[in-house]
Symmetry: C2
Subunit: 254 residues, 2 copies
């Protein structure tokens, strides 16, 4: 059963109907970005550019891969990073996923049947934009501020919006943002992180009140150094305290 031909055949069958798409969010203190790829279509004869759409980054699943492994490979391919936070958030499989003319033309030009439905499993990731060196490998990959994205190829706009929803929900429920802060941080930096990712402005007083109830945010006997303004107190996030105090039930919408 394990002849190469058989493996290749099985890989094709699997790849033909299922893919993984990664919504890679990049945070900096200015804005929330998303990693996008230019999909350029050229006229065969004249070589002239016909259209240029932006897409998310996706790929097929290899025969020996688990879904998480496929997502990690896609992320590694573009960023060179391993062991990055990746979360499966939703699977998309509408029969009308491909109904735009550009998408159909692009698929046909790449030898693929635009009428063949592909079900895609969505993952999102959250990185520090500044720490990523993008691996170009001939593709035009770039960070785009999420708030600037108004149109994407295929149903990628829907995928992006659902990923953003999932990320924001997760951020308000679980401490997934602290790795994007310095190990010792000020409450202003923390507030800024939440504001950038949630896309809102938070009231400083309310924010501090909430934060003061988080036992896993530990104030240090130490202040900022080398700042022009009055130095603020530094805090650390204590994962152990979080893990032992998080078993709160029934905390919905209270």
């Amino acid at each position: 059963m394990n002849t190469t031909a058989n493996l290749v055949e099985q890989k094709i069958v699997l790849n033909n109907s299922v893919s993984v798409d990664c919504v890679i969010f990049g945070f900096d203190f200015m804005q929330l970005n998303v990693l996008l790829v230019d999909r350029v279509m050229y006229d065969e004869k004249s070589g002239k550019e016909l259209f240029n759409d932006l897409t998310l980054t996706g790929n097929h699943i290899f025969e020996e891969e688990d879904l998480d492994e496929a997502a990690a490979r896609i992320l590694f391919d573009l960023t060179g990073l391993k062991n990055i936070y990746l979360e499966q958030f939703y699977t998309f499989g509408s029969p009308t996923r491909i109904n735009r003319e550009n998408d159909k033309a692009w698929l046909a030009a790449n030898g693929r049947d635009p009428n063949h439905r592909i079900i895609t499993i969505g993952y999102y990731s959250l990185l520090d934009t500044d720490k990523v060196t993008l691996e170009w490998k001939g593709r035009n990959v770039r960070w785009v501020p999420v708030s600037d994205v108004t149109e994407l190829a295929f149903d990628h706009m829907e995928i992006l919006q659902k990923a953003l929803q999932a990320l924001r929900k997760k951020l308000t429920r679980e401490p997934i943002g602290f790795e994007l802060l310095p190990p010792k941080f000020t409450l202003s930096q923390m507030q800024r992180l939440y504001e950038v990712i949630l896309g809102v402005t938070l009231d400083k007083r309310n924010f501090r009140k909430k934060v003061s109830r988080m036992k896993y945010l530990v104030p240090l006997d130490e202040k900022q150094k080398g700042v022009a303004h009055k130095p603020a107190r530094l805090y650390v996030f204590d994962r152990d305290i979080y893990e032992t105090t998080k078993t709160e039930l029934l905390d919905f919408a209270i």
Copy 2:
């Protein structure tokens, strides 16, 4: 392109690699149940029963169906119910999903290749056990208390556990349980609902304290009737109040 042969062929390709599995939870005030199907394998010659495993209820996706529609069809098929709460929670696609002898034998006996990987999209649902008339249609479908389930076919035990996790998380964050209570209910009934689904015993005093902060739980000027014990106050769940007060950010683990 739209010949019948072509459509059938496409359906087969899609169905061959992807399925939908439904974890249908049934609540009654005694326990949390899950809907399972007996998968019996008989010896071809003697007709003797070789093994009987329990499975979740799943099916292929039809060519014209969205994923949600496939899940709703599977649920309708077994319960005769429409417009039921169904939530996509995770997609399973490990290359080792099928590695048990019984599963391989059963697939082979049903003309399917045990080495062909199927990726399955998991949905869960929550019903009132007592309100469901199971549609047998020749299958042995039955409610089994979740706490009694120790082994299932394929990777269905993993799917069940992940669904239970997702259901419990959802229940502690959002008011998804109130449709299982009478329109007017007592706090004891509500506490029981949470205890049954979460699989824990809750401290009555703490529970009442939490509940008193839920503005969308409205006490009535009305008490239970026809009970042997001291009649308790009745409450209603006010969805409008919930919708207007739920926009709380940063409520993680506080």
